[in-house]
């Protein structure tokens, strides 16, 4: 209590709604949102739901080169203007709301390829004005891809491609663990583009299955996939990737995604009541993640997904 207190290190741990407000404010400046994981693995879905509940709209959505449920849900909620993702699919079936909105001209889905997205993130992460690409030939995607440019290669003399930096205003990631400073630990075998996105983005917000003591990070620094320096906020969200997987902790919920897709297909062909109910029940309704867990099926339901992740 003697005058100026010694400053202490700030924790980056925050709550889901505060994180969503932080993201929403940033995205109002520039609507480029990027999502970590890939398809049904380690997608930051709780953060996406919180952002939708906070009322985001007009988003330009990026991702590692493949996405499905989360982007489709954002489109269903009316939050998306443009999609910059090469592959949008539930893998075993098409994304109903993505398809509907693009066919209706409500959402622009750009034709892109993985190298353009990854190369653009690389240019941003590396701090250079562009990334050369020399492995694209013959696809109609090259005629439409808005991010890809032809340049004269100063080394080979040939015409090659190049992409400028992709710098998301906000990136949402989901990892299995973090310490309170925001050092992320992906325990899944595949980490996809999460590390690259973190380094390419203006702001990074991560959900994790659990916050671990500082010692867990310090005892094995090689396991840290995204150093705290790149992370602006971290939120502990049990089952925060649901209905996608957070291996090795819980598997993707194929049944949930399938039921959602059925509602989406019904909406696409004229009956949106099921989809509206789904969004009210899972996105706008729950006040917190505990509510969401109850809405999905409760602790017993998630225990099954945990067992599936262990191959039981």
């Amino acid at each position: 209590m003697e005058g100026q207190a010694k400053p202490t290190r700030r924790s980056k741990v925050t709550g889901l709604q505060d994180a969503a407000r932080l993201a929403r404010g940033a995205l109002e400046e520039r609507p480029e949102l990027c999502l970590g994981g890939l398809f049904k693995q380690s997608r930051p879905v709780a953060l996406v739901r919180a952002l939708l509940a906070a009322g985001a709209d007009g988003l330009h959505v990026y991702s590692s080169p493949g996405a499905g449920y989360d982007v489709d849900l954002m489109i269903a909620a009316g939050a998306v203007a443009q999609v910059f993702i090469p592959g949008v699919t539930l893998e075993n079936r098409l994304c109903p709301n993505f398809r509907r909105a693009v066919e209706a001209g409500q959402v622009t889905a750009h034709a892109l390829d993985a190298l353009t997205v990854v190369g653009g993130l690389m240019a941003s992460a590396h701090g250079v004005p562009f990334q050369p690409i020399d492995a694209l030939r013959g696809s109609d995607v090259l005629k439409h891809n808005p991010l890809l440019h032809e340049i004269d290669c100063p080394f080979s003399g040939r015409r090659i491609h190049a992409v400028g930096p992709i710098r998301p205003r906000v990136t949402f990631l989901h990892a299995q663990e973090a310490d309170r400073w925001g050092n992320l630990r992906h325990l899944s075998t595949m980490v996809y583009a999460d590390q690259l996105m973190a380094r390419a983005s203006d702001m990074v917000i991560a959900s994790v299955d659990r916050i671990v003591p500082d010692e867990v990070v310090l005892d094995d620094p090689s396991r840290v996939t995204v150093p705290s320096y790149y992370v602006d906020a971290v939120v502990e969200v049990p089952y925060g990737a649901h209905p996608t997987a957070s291996f090795p902790n819980y598997a993707m919920d194929e049944d949930h995604i399938d039921a959602y897709a059925d509602l989406g297909d019904a909406a696409r062909t004229g009956d949106s009541t099921g989809l509206d109910t789904y969004i009210a029940r899972h996105v706008t309704g729950p006040k917190n993640q505990s509510d969401y867990i109850e809405a999905v099926g409760g602790a017993g339901y998630f225990a099954v997904l945990e067992a599936e992740a262990r191959n039981e």
Binding site: I85, E91, R99, L115, A135, L136, G138, T189, F247
Partner: protein, 255 residues
């Protein structure tokens, strides 16, 4: 082997036989059939075949999974990489890769973007595709959709997502496609390859239980059937035993 050979098992065996020891290859997005074929080749004649180029190396799952974008499908693999290394692999290429789409045409071009309309005003919007490079940078690739109808085998695709032989040798050369491109088209009904001169698809063999006429009826373009079409060589006892006992332990290929 009590149970009859399924059309999907026949596909797997045809593909496995074409993969050589020491090669490097990956499975693509619809991984069930390709991963089974790779695993079978590794078990039977290609122990030095490396599964790589999709951010994981040599997965050893206990059973088959429909998607390799699932940690369980990797099982105990040997190494994991990220999209940065995938960027390099996409440029350096593989020995083989696998593709399939919404539409496949007579030149082996594949469409995953839209059917009808235009890209930004499509009648039906497809999923698109992430990897467009292995079709060009890899030595060869296989087309292996698990359905074969006159709706997904069309004369000309509405959008070329994955280039096959474009409109033939001249177009391919002009586009800078210097590798083999699609080598075989393997479906539940038949095996197709490409005429060396025109690069148009033609019927090579029909699986047991199919006739050339049936296959032609389910294909939206002329399969250039001239004379006798052989039957696809069925799985051997050994191929089927290894496939069912060591690879497809859950029977996914017979579902």
């Amino acid at each position: 082997m009590s149970a009859a050979v399924s059309p999907i098992e026949q596909m797997v065996v045809v593909l496995a036989r074409d993969l050589a020891d020491g090669e490097l290859g990956a499975a693509g997005a619809a991984a069930l059939v390709p991963m089974a074929a790779i695993a079978l080749a590794r078990e039977l004649h290609a122990p030095n075949l490396t599964v790589g180029g999709e951010m994981f190396f040599n997965p050893e799952p206990g059973r088959l999974y429909p998607s390799m974008l699932d940690d369980r499908a990797l099982g105990r693999c040997e190494a994991a990489e990220t999209f940065i290394e995938l960027f390099g692999h996409s440029h350096h290429g593989l020995d083989f890769f696998f593709h399939s789409g919404l539409q496949h045409d007579v030149y082996g071009n594949i469409n995953l973007h839209h059917v009808g309309g235009t890209l930004h005003a499509p009648k039906m919007r497809g999923p698109g595709a992430a990897n467009l490079s292995y079709c060009h940078t890899s030595s060869r690739y296989y087309i292996c959709p698990t359905v074969h109808t006159a709706r997904n085998f069309v004369e000309t695709v509405d959008f070329i997502t994955i280039p096959g032989h474009l409109s033939g040798p001249a177009a391919k050369r002009d586009a800078g496609l210097v590798n083999e491109g699609p080598r075989l088209v393997v479906t539940p009904r038949a095996v197709m390859d490409f005429d060396k001169t025109t690069l148009r698809m033609r019927l090579k063999s029909v699986h047991a239980g199919n006739t050339p006429e049936e296959v032609q009826r389910h294909t939206g373009f002329d399969l250039a059937i001239r004379g006798e079409v052989p039957q696809t060589r069925p799985p051997t006892e050994e191929e089927l035993r290894v496939l069912r006992e060591r690879i497809d332990t859950s029977g996914a290929l017979r579902a």
